[in-house]
Symmetry: C3
């Protein structure tokens, strides 16, 4: 059974990565070459030239078209061959696949499945990434693991205590109760930690933004959107100022934006950004947050890659789920439903963590 | 179906590479150890010691014989074991395979197939490489691709326009008509580009050798000899001096010598040399040509290795041939005939570019 | 058929390697994490956390227990989970495998098979490694070959002539006769070389220890203990002083201690030490011997890894045995018996050198 649906929008690149050169990227096991046309519209083509399969990434742009770097066949953004050397007529089969592309929320998205179903309304909501009320910055890391291991990681923040003890984790996270909900394409995990000592990261933010120290109420509201986008509403406010009841005005608030695109069944492109709604114009804080979060995600990366290798080494391991796994279980269930809807005659998926053979 | 015949002479090394040490090389998936006997005659042995398989390349020469570097078994140039430690009689089965070897045209050739058929008259003609009327120099590069991709590359020089635009390629090559012929073991592609602007490489040669500038007639006469040798008669002469009619006396002429030995099904030893019949004693030009051509072949190497990987990734790709592929189609057809003649009961080969599974 | 028995003690580490951190090591294809409890007792656990398989080596020690570095599950030295996050009851299946461990002769030994059979009396005798009458030092090298190739190497010292010609090898070794004996778990090879010129290594030792030069009687008494321990009683004494008859008092004597633990079917941990009974307190000699022997074993390492690769490349090679292979043939026979006793219904092993498919 496939590990991901094909009929979905997947982030392929940050907007700034796509320009007037040929960018190679693999999305859902499919190689692509991405570029912008003269008017700025992004295009995505299958990179293997129809004639002798040379990757088009070794060719060059000529206007809106791509010239193969071996024998000079030319393809337009729709993938049709428009020129062949020493040839008067063009074989009508001469083409490469073109993928639906869209640009939104500072990402270039591609749709690797059926082009007729590629409805831009289905692009996940990551508006904080370009909303003027928020200041956001982020990175792309490519991680050598099944993308679902990253989702598991984000759906259960208990791990902050053990993986990120020096920054955002403390005993309070592992011990606090949480509430899980789900819908057809969404699942949420909400955790409030009231009247606690702030972990180092948040203590620093609260002092920088508000000049405040002392005990806080802390929240983590995780929202999964199938198949692979997770936003986390995070923050702290001084205890007693009403944050749990809805008044966050004395606190600091961030949105951790995550969309994790399968590269192959064994690797993924993890696009993340951190958006805040305070000190919007302080580039120093933007810089500090980007690098601080990057450091935290590097800690996750080491864990996730080791976990993937260990899963490979234990193909028959029977996984048991703990209470803390409730959110990730729902995320996987919703993914499995999307995959099953695309694969009419496949067996039901019963073991949640194991990658497909 | 095999990708190459075994009953053929293959260049294994430049003459200077083979000496009084043990040279390891793989030819047609067969490992060999090459050396010279005391009288200078080259020898080629299967390198795995009969006793415990240690590669003989870890041993040492003793006169005309090879001593294994583990337990001291000794083999003569015919592969027979002539000494065993602590053993009075020698097991008559104790031997390693010896391969027919010949030295000609500055290469050491081996015959990996049936030794009884190893007729030195079948060694390809590369006499320009040591003919005093020509000055030649060259290199060996090992390329991670099926050797036939190199042949395709050389049989269609259209690619010069797109791969070598800064040196020998220009639009004239891609646009000029050409004529293809073939025989039982040979195929030729002849292209004349009359009254054109010389590309940078040839403009430089013509000025150095003859002090001439201006429009030229250019020729490329490609001659394939199955299974893997291609010579290309190349040059330019000032337009109007009669080169197309046979008088090349005002021009400059080179012979590009190429023999491409399969190392494995996924890699090849590409031996090449460039011979010229002008300025024979100017070492500066020899040096410049060798490095200039080496730079051009590095451009090909990147293309060929990317193409091989792409073919591996598209095992079911159906290849279409363009007009420009006529020469390489004949080369492949002649190879396939040689292979089929060695493999009595195998299916006919129908898809030209795909390596055997 | 397996290449090694599981019901045996295998050296997993030098004693000093195991401490208050988590040491990863693979023994007989089984990953382990090794550490010392607070009282110094070593422990060995399977490293894959029961919950999500993260290697415990990425976690940390807390007293005598290991805390997983992802979600904080805690395991005691017996492998039982004693704590789970956000969970009041602990699933009784929550555990990792714990391996029998023992510390003796300066090594930490593990028993990867049935724990009920792990009798410490079966630990091989390497007492010279900590006997006050001997001075010993050694190293661990991990070699990319089947561990049995190392045993073959040690059971036939003829190879010293060809592999170690500059230190301990000379023609005398390859030419001297030897005697082989065997029991149920032991095999010996004894070789006396009387009235010979000492090779450089031993000439140096004899002069350093006794101030003597001149012809010597040299002995090599190899003793194999199944499945993978070999001690070699080595030395020289001046010819005529009675060493062959039992009086070694004028000579120098060493014990080469070797125990070779399969890491995987294609690699092994080779623990060795050299013990001497002369100049016990001269650290300079200890240092010189350790590095001298290390250099000799590096020569073997190159041979053994090349041999393993060659065996892989020749899966159908039929091996013939020479007289010099008598000792290693017995060693392999005794190993095969141990393996067969563990694998009730497997076919008898007939081809001695080839690793199991």
């Amino acid at each position: 059974m496939a590990t991901h649906p094909l009929n979905a929008w997947y982030a392929a690149a940050y907007d700034v990565e796509v320009g007037r050169t040929l960018l190679s990227r693999t999305i859902c096991n499919q190689k692509m070459v991405l570029y912008r046309q003269i008017d700025g519209t992004p295009a995505a083509l299958e990179p293997a030239c129809w004639h002798r399969l040379l990757p088009l990434s070794l060719g060059r742009l000529e206007g809106d078209e791509v010239v193969c770097g071996y024998h000079g066949l030319v393809y337009n953004p729709q993938g049709q061959c428009t020129h062949m050397p020493s040839q008067e007529t063009i074989n009508p089969s001469a083409c490469v696949r073109a993928f639906p592309v869209a640009e939104r929320h500072r990402f270039v998205w591609v749709w690797p499945g059926d082009p007729l179903q590629a409805d831009p309304a289905l692009i996940p909501d990551l508006h904080w990434n370009h909303d003027p009320a928020w200041a956001a910055d982020g990175k792309l890391i490519t991680v050598a693991c099944d993308y679902r291991l990253v989702l598991d990681n984000l759906m259960d923040l208990t791990h902050e205590t053990f993986v990120h003890g020096s920054s955002i984790g403390n005993r309070a996270v592992a011990e606090a109760p949480f509430v899980t909900t789900h819908g057809d394409r969404f699942a949420t995990v909400t955790r409030w930690m009231e009247d606690i000592e702030a972990p180092p990261f948040w203590a620093g933010q609260l002092f920088q933004a508000r000049g405040l120290r002392g005990r806080v109420d802390r929240w983590q509201i995780i929202r999964f959107e199938a198949p692979c986008t997770i936003t986390i509403d995070v923050g702290v406010a001084p205890t007693g100022t009403g944050a749990p009841q809805g008044d966050r005005s004395q606190g600091v608030n961030g949105q951790v934006l995550n969309t994790i695109t399968p590269e192959t069944d064994r690797s993924c492109h993890y696009f993340w950004a951190f958006a805040r709604n305070y000190c919007l114009n302080e580039q120093r804080i933007t810089h500090e947050l980007r690098e601080g979060v990057a450091g935290i995600f590097r800690e996750d990366e080491a864990v996730l890659e080791a976990q993937h290798r260990a899963i490979d080494e234990h193909p028959d391991h029977q996984f048991y789920n703990l209470n803390i796994d409730a959110g990730s279980m729902w995320a996987r269930k919703l993914i499995d439903r999307l995959v099953a809807a695309e694969a009419p005659a496949s067996a039901p998926r019963t073991i949640p963590l194991r990658p497909a053979a």
